[in-house]
């Protein structure tokens, strides 16, 4: 009994050491950008705080179990009646309150931090990429560059990237562990995720939220390139890849697994994302769709207004 507990605490302490070691292999604790770094630091900090709590509890626990077992007391020992102790009870209320308060401050600060464009990158114009999911793939649309990819996304290093997430079906969650935490993609609204890659390299991204049969295969590659390489890649795609037609896009939506694709135009024109007036399914009526043209967040899009009706994309249609 006693040995096992001691062993447990030893294991735990070694775990903490392992986790806080700087060259950890665990993806979440091996950040490659400022957002993931903030989160990794928060995690390490909370582990240390919690380790303190655990050590206090485990030490008390071991003391109680070793000192007061029946085999160590005399047969006629009669345990006393003790109601409690106001000061002790206040102590173990107050200390957790302080710990929670400290953690709350850290949480609020970091939560605001990871929602914003990371510090030091606010001055740069972010690269906007629409990332939309459909069963079971990811579509990445670059409105400014006018290109679109499927199941892989290239980004320049040291430039803020604003992912605008939405879904053509079940709720999915866009996650690149080494660049930052995840966020949901849903059908009727856009969620935004700001990420920066500070190191060149290839990072695994995935859908983290269960979305049906093909869920496990819903992975993509994030390739962080130097700005030069990135521009070169964009130009390559523009020149060599085919255009994404509405028909082609609908076929993509309907196909379960498609592998990687590149296109020299985006689907945003004929199938606009659910933002601005398009959010919240207010887009069905004829009168409402027409005034979308003025919507400010579509300024970098160069699309054909006549295709605004969402019924163009089959998976948005409803079988009722």
């Amino acid at each position: 009994m006693k040995k096992k507990r001691l062993l447990l605490s030893l294991i735990f302490i070694s775990i903490v050491m392992l986790l806080s070691g700087c060259d950890s292999k665990l993806a979440v604790l091996n950040p490659k950008g400022p957002v993931a770094k903030t989160q990794a630091n928060t995690i390490i900090f909370s582990i240390l705080m919690m380790a303190f709590v655990l050590i206090v509890v485990y030490i008390l626990y071991i003391i109680m179990l070793t000192k007061y077992r029946a085999s160590k007391t005399s047969d006629d020992y009669e345990p006393p009646h003790i109601e409690g102790n106001k000061w002790l009870e206040l102590t173990w209320t107050a200390i957790p309150v302080i710990i929670v308060a400290i953690l709350s401050v850290v949480t609020v600060q970091t939560t605001y931090a990871v929602e914003k464009v990371p510090a030091g990158y606010e001055d740069q114009k972010p690269l906007v990429i629409y990332a939309s999911s459909s069963d079971w793939k990811w579509h990445f649309s670059y409105p400014e560059e006018g290109i679109e990819t499927v199941n892989y996304v290239n980004i320049p290093t040291n430039r803020p990237v604003e992912f605008r997430l939405y879904s053509y079906g079940p709720i999915t969650s866009f996650w690149v562990p080494q660049l930052g935490g995840q966020k949901y993609a849903m059908t009727d609204m856009i969620t935004k995720l700001n990420l920066v890659a500070e190191h060149e390299g290839s990072y695994l991204g995935k859908n983290a939220n269960f979305s049906g049969k093909g869920f496990a295969k819903m992975e993509f590659e994030v390739q962080a390139q130097s700005p030069g390489d990135y521009t070169k890649w964009v130009n390559d795609v523009k020149q060599t890849a085919p255009k994404l037609t509405e028909q082609e896009f609908n076929t993509l939506l309907k196909t379960d697994f498609v592998g990687r694709k590149s296109y020299s135009s985006t689907h945003l024109g004929f199938a606009p994302p659910p933002e601005g007036d398009m959010a919240g399914h207010q887009h069905g009526g004829d009168s409402k769709t027409e005034k979308d043209s003025g919507s400010e967040n579509m300024d970098h899009m160069n699309h054909d207004m006549s295709g605004m009706d969402m019924s163009g994309s089959s998976s948005m249609e409803h079988g009722h």
């Binding site: 919240g280 399914h281 207010q282 009526g285």
Partner: protein
């Protein structure tokens, strides 16, 4: 069996006073239920899709009649319980009868209203707003229906047995239920109809 003669008949046995407390707790759960339905309605009420809004379909006259009927029925239900406390069997049965008839009248108007909505193309399937409207009103309507069935069975029992521990207890609990439905309706009237018409 513990019996306390100082209490009104419906509370007198321990079992019956437990039943009344139990029913109050059940009404607590009902409040949670209707609160959730209201929350759903308030979340979805402007998500009308391609369908009509509340303003397009609500008709004032029917709603006013429904409200009048239900409020009055709650009053007559209270009079019924008062008569029971005075051990007046016939007046009690008459007041309860009126209560149930008014409940039926309420249901009749509500059903007509639903039929009208459907004729105007506003069905449960049209939009999230209408789904939540039909479910909220329908749940209340279903409660009224169950109340009418329950009240009728109590009337038969009072008629057969007069006021006993059992029948007095049932009648009293029924009156709690009926008042509760009235309160829910006041919320529906204010926050669904009045707000929708504004």
């Amino acid at each position: 069996m513990k019996i306390n003669d100082t209490l009104p008949l419906e509370y007198r046995t321990e079992e019956n006073s437990n039943k009344i407390l139990g029913f109050w707790l059940f009404l607590g759960a009902e409040i949670a239920l209707f609160s959730t339905l209201f929350a759903v309605y308030f979340t979805l009420w402007n998500r009308t899709g391609n369908g009509p809004t509340g303003k397009d379909i609500f008709e004032v006259s029917g709603v006013i009649w429904e409200t009048l009927l239900l409020l009055t029925s709650s009053f007559t239900c209270g009079l019924g319980i008062h008569a029971m406390r005075l051990n007046l069997k016939k007046p009690m049965m008459i007041f309860f009868g009126i209560t149930l008839l008014m409940g039926l009248g309420f249901l009749g108007i509500e059903i007509t209203e639903f039929v009208n909505y459907v004729h105007e193309g506003a069905t449960m399937q049209t939009s999230a707003f209408l789904s939540s409207l039909f479910i909220l009103l329908g749940t209340h309507g279903l409660h009224v229906t169950m109340g009418i069935l329950w009240g009728s069975s109590i009337l038969i029992q009072v008629n057969r047995e007069g006021f006993t521990d059992a029948t007095a207890n049932k009648s009293f609990i029924f009156s709690l239920y009926w008042h509760f439905l009235d309160v829910v309706w006041i919320f529906i009237f204010s926050f669904v109809y009045l707000k929708g018409l504004m």
